[in-house]
């Protein structure tokens, strides 16, 4: 079992782009007006989870 990777709850995301600007791996993009994590690029640093102002990102073990 690997470390939890970031996952965006599309229902909660307000598309502020904060997570994209702090991601050290360029692993997050806007997709259809919501943030979207490219799981392959995510290194489980959790910076985006901590940054999200509305708590739309959580860790999920794949």
């Amino acid at each position: 079992m690997g470390k939890p990777k970031a996952k965006v709850d599309g229902e909660k995301c307000l598309a502020c782009s904060g997570c994209i600007s702090v991601c050290p791996q360029d692993a997050i993009s806007m997709c259809g007006g919501r943030a979207f994590v490219m799981v392959d690029k995510c290194i489980s640093c959790a910076i985006c989870i901590q940054t999200c102002p509305v708590g739309a990102i959580s860790g999920e073990v794949y």
Binding site: S17, G18, V22, C23, G33, Q50, T51, P53, V54
Partner: protein, 400 residues
Amino acid sequence: MKYDVVVVGSGPAGSVTARFAAETGAKVLILERRVEVGVPVLCGEGISQKIDNWGMLEGKRWIASKMDGAKIYAPDGTMVTLSKEMAGNETGYVVYRDIFDQELARQAAKAGAKLMMKTEATELLVDNEQIKGVKVKQFDEEFEIEADIVVGADGVESKVGQWAGINTVLKPNDLETCAQYTLTNVDYKSDYCEFYIGKKIAPGGYVWIFPKGKGIFNVGIGILASLSESGMALKLLDNFIAGHSELKKGEPIRLLAGAAPVAKPVETVKDNLILVGDAARHVDPITGGGLTTALEGGKIAGETIGRAIEQQMFDEETLSAYETGWKEAFGRKLRRDYLVKEILLDFDDKTLNMLADSLKDYKFKEFSTLSLVKALVLKHPTLLMKLKPLLKVSKESKED
């Protein structure tokens, strides 16, 4: 289709850059990935009134209200006031950012710039290691747009800079993560913009209340991402409103989340490429405000691009007139306020209360962060020691 300039993003920095480039006769295209310029609004909507002197916006529809000044509340409630009477009548506006952005886009279009909606830049078009334009996606169609100069006006999350090899990734201590309600039917009379500071209220940031007139207020919060936890910004904002009965009676008509870089500026020029606005980190690190610098920097970028097109020279050296220009205009202010931000972050609530107490009767001459910093140093010469790196900044800029 070949253009002289393709601008990625139709925010204030993008539109102003496009306008001033187009006014020199350049063929300019602005790309917007959303379906409406200025929407959704991602901003507190406060701006200094000094923009009146620049003549970039016509009419008054973009103005919601004119502020009478600013009130800063320390953690214990001690109030510091910067009022218009003291500040030579020049304070700030609260604006409707959607109308504001659309007015700037109109000015760009009037100058001859073209706009494309729902068109997202997906990567740079590169040939033989030279930037030749951008690849885009419009609805489900993908195509290429050729241009001699690409302008990254793509905001806090700028990808254009990263594609060109500029490291624009923000450290968590260089980002304010924000949430804001626009509340209506608020039973509160205030024409001041209010700021509330303190570790419990907004760690590494502040809560703002900006009056928009007719009982409508923007009430928002920014906290430093490094001091944040998941969902903390919105929770703290809800707590703040719950603790203020007059705000609590209001009803929300808008909720937004936002992110403001409070970082040192990055490298803004490469061969065939320029970064402007939030993408260039042209944001005051104390306030998180980036509108005036977006306009000022955009104008310099547009004029530089105009000259480059005239000479048909698009190399870094030619375009670096832009970097020299914005550094002269506001580079020192950004560096100074970055240092002040770091100093302020070290202050605990007790120190903030003490500082506010010493400034509560101070007569500020100007509505600016500089006048606030000057006052602090005047009242507390020991602060000079902490501000010592600032003196170095002044010295360097003289040598520049």
